[in-house]
Amino acid sequence: MQNVEILSNGLSAVEKLYDQSMYGHVDLFRIKDLVHSLKPNHWIGKQWLVDELLKVYDGDGIIHCAGGWYGLIAYLIKQKFQNNTVISSDIDEYCSTLGKVLFKDKGINFYDMDMAIASIKGGDVFITTSGEHIDKEDLVSIINMCSYKYIVIQSNDYFEVDSHINCSENLEEFKNYLQPTLSKIYYCGELNLGKYNRFMIIGEK
């Protein structure tokens, strides 16, 4: 039932975009972007994160999904971490607008926020599944100044996409540049998603 509700909310978001296009603000690519954000591989890759985080963390503090796009990772986190405050933030201000429609009444707090700012807000768990979109130097710097206890980072080897500016050739390369930012690593692994592999590291500051 939950997924039927998300589907219905997604269609409401599409309706909202169409309505806006009737009265001046025309950006129908948002529809395509929204649909893309809910593709099966995104569900699978993010559920993998939730499943592995459950083995590491059972606190009730703030979980911040930075670069959270339209909020799918925050939604999946909230399903399993119901007592936690779950935040989804993104520098793209329209993500919160659509995220609030897509995941209406799901207990997610949406913010418009640069990832560097998000990283110093403080809490228990800092998550980004957008590692491939962030300059490597910036990602390392963000983790270094991060004021959260647990850090979860995902990236991939999907080099073909123009916006993927920080892919890794393999899990070892991914781990090698992130390991120095963490005092302890709980999990480091990869998931084959067909066209590409997704990498994930869960560690402690």
Binding site: S21, L28, F29, D92, H133, D135, E137, D162, S163, I165
Partner: protein, 191 residues
């Protein structure tokens, strides 16, 4: 006037840069520049401007960095894509260039592809040859909006290339005469 090439990745080689330089140099006694992350084997007469590691951009998106106010050249500039063949003097067009704006190649042959709806995606210009002035603040806005609006990642997903970004984000531009890219002057190499 500066003449600029952009080479990123391995699709184009130093040979492509050097060949285009040789083709153009016979018509122009100008300073040549190549904006690249790999300057190996590029003709020493071409000044190298290094692509910085940050912000990391792929392929043609690096062309937008030429509009950064801190890009290290000044004055009037002319850019050429590396897949162009120069068949005769391409600089005859300079007296028709409006240096107060960005000048792009007209692709009137694409006009039939535009459906004139509000969300049409194809554009009737391309950026295979460009002219602009480095001191023009309106030109700097092309880079500033891309890099500072918080929408860089969205633009990379939405527009696929810089031509659509420039047109659909409504940056002012003009075009060379519609027949500038033609067999007698410049042609695209078939790759």
């Amino acid at each position: 006037m500066n003449i600029i090439f952009v080479k990123w990745g391995t699709k184009y080689s130093s040979d492509d840069v050097n060949k285009l330089y040789q083709s153009l140099n016979q018509y122009a006694d100008n300073a040549f520049y190549c904006y690249t992350e790999d300057s190996s084997n590029i003709n020493s007469n071409i000044n190298i401007i290094d692509i910085p590691p940050k912000p990391a951009l792929k392929k043609w998106w690096n062309k937008l960095a030429m509009f950064n106010k801190d890009f290290p050249i000044q004055g009037n500039n002319m850019f050429f894509d590396l897949d162009l063949n120069i068949n005769s003097n391409p600089f005859y067009v300079l007296d028709k260039v409006n240096w107060d704006t960005l000048t792009m190649v007209s692709r009137e042959d694409k006009i039939d592809m535009l459906n004139h709806s509000h969300h049409h995606f194809n554009v009737s210009v391309n950026s295979s040859v460009l002219c602009w002035n480095s001191n023009n603040k309106k030109i700097h806005e092309i880079w500033n909006k891309f890099i500072s609006s918080g929408l860089k990642d969205y633009y990379l997903r939405k527009y696929v290339g810089i031509d659509r970004y420039i047109v659909h984000e409504e940056f002012e531009h003009s075009t060379f005469p519609f027949d500038y890219i033609r067999d007698e002057v410049i042609t695209h190499a078939k790759r």
